[in-house]
């Protein structure tokens, strides 16, 4: 890290890009910003998941709903966060809620399609086999369709989480931005250290979150990675069968 930073670590003022002592002196502020950031990023993902699941399931079941719902979430996604803040501040003030609501809406635009795609990833013959064996609609959903949809939904969840972790910083515009606060601080004082620290922590957070979700996904879906041995095995079975059969003919 120092090898990268040292040669270019000089700004206009002769100030180094990063001053390590600042980090030590402000560890409380940094920790607090990090915590804030985490909450601001994760709450929208959780709320978004809870809302996307029923909406996505409805869209998967009643196909005509899907286009309008995607339309609405896309439009919401296209609205700049700052515009949403302006509107929301009038209702929710300069609070976390004002940041969480737009991020939740963004999460919906990722997760609703993920849930629909997840349900689409359930092979029709599997669904029919479940029905034919006597699964009712709810039981089939919980025990067959949702588990099979997990990999696709988890992929969406990872995208939503990582993008939320980066989007939270925008909240700094209204003073609720987690690590984004470090950016404002740095810009205001023309001081790069908080900015660099903020960026590094956001990236680290995103990576850690993604890896954790990946681990969760693997634990939840051991079956999704199985199958590597299939081709070889199939060949083996063929060979095994072909020989005696040929001998018999």
């Amino acid at each position: 890290m120092s090898a990268v930073l040292s040669p270019v670590a000089v700004g206009d003022s002769g100030e180094p890009l990063i001053r390590w002592d600042w980090i030590g002196r402000n560890s409380d502020i940094i920790t607090h910003a990090l915590n804030d950031h985490l909450v601001l990023a994760i709450v929208p993902v959780l709320v978004g998941l809870a809302v996307s699941l029923p909406i996505g399931l409805l869209c998967a079941r009643y196909r005509w709903l899907y286009a309008p719902v995607v339309g609405i979430t896309s439009v919401l996604y296209a609205i700049p966060a700052i515009a949403l803040f302006v509107v929301l501040v009038a209702f929710t003030g300069l609070t976390r809620t004002t940041v969480i609501i737009p991020l939740t809406l963004y999460t919906l635009s990722v997760l609703v399609p993920a849930v629909v795609d997840g349900m689409d990833s359930v092979p029709e013959h599997v669904r029919q086999a479940a029905t034919a064996m006597g699964f009712g609609t709810l039981r089939r959903l919980v025990q067959v369709e949702l588990p099979i949809a997990v990999p696709v939904v988890m992929a969406g969840l990872r995208v939503a989480t990582v993008s939320n972790i980066s989007l939270v910083s925008v909240g700094a515009l209204i003073g609720v931005g987690g690590l984004g606060q470090l950016f404002t601080d740095g810009f205001n004082r023309d001081f790069t250290t908080p900015i660099v620290v903020g960026i590094a922590l956001i990236i680290a957070l995103a990576i850690v979150a993604d890896v954790l979700l990946l681990i969760v996904q693997r634990v939840l879906t051991p079956w999704a990675r199985a199958g590597g041995s299939r081709r070889t095995e199939r060949r083996a079975v063929r060979a095994e069968l072909a020989t005696p059969e040929e001998a018999a003919l």
Partner: protein, 309 residues
């Protein structure tokens, strides 16, 4: 619904003469059944069909002639537009569909296995649904694996780790797990290569000789129909039943030109082969299974029985 208690075919399966046709216990009956889909397609037209208990009845015909539709009306995956279907004397409209279905095994071409469940749990699906003891259900699943010719070492694998032929075996085992008196099979062996298909057919016949289920078997392959069926229902497009007869009768006296064409030009050869083939197959199968370390070949009794069909 216990086929065992009113099954007159046990003796025949053991190589004794068949019960006279009049005595046959009709486990599934279609009376004036028509299925018209919402778009106007008539998939099944005014079908009257009686399916005997404890035997294999094959529905055969070209693509789109209504075989799958007919099959799925039995477990209410599809409800007829008009007409009545009874199972074991009972109008199936009176039975709650999930409940009805748990008593009817179902096997389809792509196997329809649950990718997220291990083989053993796939097989035990219906027993779990019926809240049977988990341990017992698993023990039975293992037993069934052996019965359908699967190495029990595969029990903890996932379906994607099995070959197509193995998956089909799991599909059959799963359908048998709750010991249903009826099995519906929709082209169960058509997705595997010919060698495996023949082996599956042979093992299926052997298995059926032990379990004596009432089986409705759909295929578009007339050779498979002739090989497996005690009775064959030939459908033509439009969902019209062209002929319902034993294989021998069908090959000897096709009811009309459609059936004659469907049986193909080599009908005479097929008929001859139908009788001879069984011995040859028994021999071939013995060779396969000896090398395979698999289950034993059918006994002479079974071969003789098959020859009588």
């Amino acid at each position: 619904m216990d086929a065992g208690t009113h099954n007159p075919f046990v003796s025949e399966w053991n190589g004794v003469t068949a019960a006279p046709e009049e005595d046959v216990n009709r486990l599934i009956t279609f009376t004036g059944v028509t299925k018209r889909y919402p778009d106007g397609t008539v998939a099944v037209h005014d079908l009257d069909l009686e399916i005997p208990a404890g035997r294999i009845t094959v529905l055969v015909g070209p693509s789109g002639c209504g075989k799958t539709t007919t099959l799925r009306m039995v477990n209410r995956m599809i409800d007829p537009t008009t007409g009545t279907i009874t199972v074991d004397g009972r109008d199936i409209r009176e039975v709650d569909p999930p409940k009805l279905r748990r008593g009817i095994g179902y096997v389809i071409q792509q196997a329809g296995l649950f990718p997220h469940r291990t083989i053993i749990d796939n097989i035990a699906t219906v027993p779990y649904l019926l809240h049977q003891d988990k341990k017992q259900a698993r023990a039975r699943a293992l037993e069934l694996m052996e019965r359908v010719g699967l190495d029990t070492a595969l029990a903890k694998r996932y379906p994607s780790q099995l070959s197509g032929g193995q998956q089909q075996r799991v599909g059959v085992a799963r359908a048998l797990a709750a010991d249903p008196p009826i099995m519906l099979m929709d082209e169960p062996f058509s997705a595997v290569d010919p060698i495996v298909r023949h082996q599956l057919q042979d093992e299926f016949l052997r298995l059926q000789s032990e379990v004596e289920k009432t089986i409705v078997f759909v295929t578009h392959d007339i050779d498979e129909a002739v090989k497996l069926g005690h009775r064959i229902a030939v459908f033509q497009v439009g969902g019209v039943l062209a002929q319902y007869a034993t294989p021998d009768e069908l090959l000897a006296n096709p009811a009309n030109d459609f059936v004659r064409d469907f049986l193909g030009g080599d009908r005479g050869i097929r008929r001859l082969r139908f009788v001879q083939e069984l011995d040859a197959e028994a021999a071939a199968e013995a060779a396969v299974q000896a090398a395979d370390g698999g289950p034993p070949p059918p006994t002479d009794d079974e071969a003789a029985t098959a020859g009588e069909r």
